[in-house]
Symmetry: C2
Subunit: 392 residues, 2 copies
């Protein structure tokens, strides 16, 4: 209903951060309208044959105030893509979210009253657009109708729980608004679905590690252990064939290669919830065990998050590091406002716009253990958009 209108009236490149809709808003367009105003207007090229290009950032939502924590958790635990609770999801989800709300509210209060994801996403996308406008003038839109939109995941490594979940939601709303079928809609969509070893991403991570390493005395620097930490996944998701663990590992290897393997390191996994089996080793255990072994100089590196949020500011800083009780246990800065990172975003987007691809070939393949019809249809839809990209 609302989809056509706002996109048509968007400025030439529109930044729509955070459309993991179940967690932040039931309709991506709601956000699109709200946030369209935050994108700086960009120079219009009247000679460009390619329509208006909306750069739609997909990221984990988060409550902006502590009052929003309850509704946010309700949507989070209702999302079977993200937190699979099986058939009992409609009953267990509300129970768990209600039980966890007071605790999580306290955590958000402890990091300033809300999630910084939105702030950083807006900053990153707005700065990225300034660059993209210079390097990719041919996609500067000039037709007020029609055109294309790029769904740009802000999870560098693809998981069905994150990017996949966002795409399922995007696809659902697109169909509600533009109807099912293989006919072209008002908007041609393409997806930047993963970019785990982009050189600029790797460079941005590596610089933050190097900066933190400099805070140790020179003679101890080589003995610091680097602990890359990524959000964990339930083993049921891993065993279904989710590509996330392997892509996170690829990022880690690339960062270590860039650092010349200057330090020893481990990849560990954080934020597991509930009694079922999740992928380990767990970050909190890892820190405790190394400290117990006498290895008290450790740098935690959030390797699957591109900006700060509750998992860095609270879980790592105020829980894991605080509980370690050792001044040598530190954390590398998140990417947040890193210029190198924002240039990387622009380069990823630029290359995608030049490629003429609707998504990666990898995205077209369902996981071997996937039983979700929604995944099947969603993938078909985005792969099929390639047919309409030429008329963008």
């Amino acid at each position: 209903m609302a989809l056509r209108t706002p996109i048509h009236t968007l400025p030439r490149r529109v930044i729509i951060p955070k459309i993991t809709q179940r967690h932040s808003s039931p309709c991506p367009i709601h956000h699109a309208r709200l946030l369209a105003t935050v994108a700086p207007p960009v120079t219009q090229s009247s000679t460009s044959s390619q329509g208006p290009t909306a750069m739609v950032f997909m990221n984990m939502g988060g409550p902006s105030t502590t009052d929003e924590v309850g509704p946010f958790l309700s949507r989070l635990f209702a999302d079977g893509d993200l937190i699979p609770l099986g058939r009992l999801q409609p009953y267990l989800g509300p129970l768990i979210s209600k039980r966890r709300t007071p605790k999580i509210q306290k955590q958000y209060a402890a990091i300033g009253g809300g999630s910084p994801i939105r702030k950083w996403s807006e900053h990153q996308s707005s700065e990225m657009c300034k660059i993209l406008d210079v390097v990719n003038p041919e996609t500067a839109p000039h037709r007020p109708e029609g055109g294309g939109a790029v769904a740009f995941t802000q999870y560098p490594q693809y998981s069905c729980s994150t990017t996949g979940s966002s795409l399922n939601e995007l696809w659902k709303w697109r169909n509600r608004l533009e109807g099912k079928g293989d006919t072209p809609g008002a908007i041609t969509w393409s997806v930047i679905d993963r970019w785990p070893v982009h050189p600029g991403l790797v460079e941005a991570f590596a610089r933050n590690v190097e900066e933190q390493l400099l805070t140790y005395p020179e003679e101890k620097r080589k003995e610091v252990v680097l602990l890359f930490s990524a959000h964990s996944l339930p083993m049921s998701v891993v065993n279904r064939g989710d590509t996330y663990p392997a892509e996170v590992a690829a990022t880690v290897w690339a960062v270590m290669q860039r650092l010349g393997f200057s330090n020893s390191y481990r990849l560990c996994w954080q934020s597991q919830v509930g009694p079922s089996a999740w992928l380990g080793a767990q970050t909190s255990d890892t820190v405790q065990e190394y400290v117990k072994k006498g290895q008290t100089d450790l740098i935690l590196i959030p390797i699957a998050f591109t900006s700060d949020h509750i998992e860095t500011l609270f879980e790592l800083d105020q829980e894991v590091i605080h509980e370690a009780g050792s001044p040598g246990v530190k954390r590398a800065e998140s990417l947040n406002g890193s210029k190198v990172f924002i240039e990387a975003l622009a380069d990823v987007a630029h290359k995608h716009l030049q490629s003429g691809e609707s998504c990666s070939r990898q995205m077209g393949l369902r996981c071997q253990g996937c039983t979700s019809e929604r995944c099947l249809e969603q993938k078909k839809f985005f792969v099929g958009q390639e047919n309409f990209l030429s008329v963008r």
Copy 2:
């Protein structure tokens, strides 16, 4: 007892394949003596200041005849590094191996009566030495006494269950023969402990994939799904902090990058044994599930093995592929005699000899959940060898 003598009398570069001692022989030197003769003599450089350099290949053992299957399995299931059965290992190990012997004997009979690992290891190491002798003449040994040995793992990705287990065994025998302590022994050891993304390794894998892709009709080629398959690990080992899953993932990413992400793919895990939880998705399930979904063109790529063995020739070829019942399910050739691969081995060894390092920095770090004193001491020993490398 025997260690000094044979190494001293070895030809200048000696190839000692397969010293995963528990599985093949209780003493590495036994093999060293047996196999010294298979290494071709190499040109001696009388001007080289560096001692005789033994290139000791570490690989999984395997029975050469079906009669050897029983004793081989006994040693395999007695190895807590490789198959952790806890305190009951001395009792459970013999039971399991006895029970499995007839079945495994049949499997070896079905692939020609024995494991081809030894044949390929000897070929690979012998060919590698020919190259190494040309590119690295300065380590051509000329002193009949003393000198160095390089333990060169033939597992490109490090696991405590494979390379770590071999090193524990090597360290144990070294100490029995040369005594404990930090004093230099007759032999200075260094270790090539991992090389998961060496460009030559990646190139060799990629070429075998490309070759297999060519067997599909051109119009179907892009739709073939690539299934990288590696030996799985128990989740107890993964959760302890084993680096293997992440390094296998790094290899997969590098191969896909080299292939230009021409096809969609998954990394899956094979050969799990017993009732405990292992890392998935399982290779056999993956093939079945894709075939069921209608994806019947699949190439299996053994990504953590460098030559054929029972897991490729029997498990993949005669079980997984046979059971798939679809002519589009195939396997990429193993590296075996690949010239590109053997040149890669020489390059890995060459760079290691030039580096002056006793092992990677990463090898010095125990896993966070490690409780093995043997691991601790073994790592100390190999890291400490760096002090003696200058006098090699």
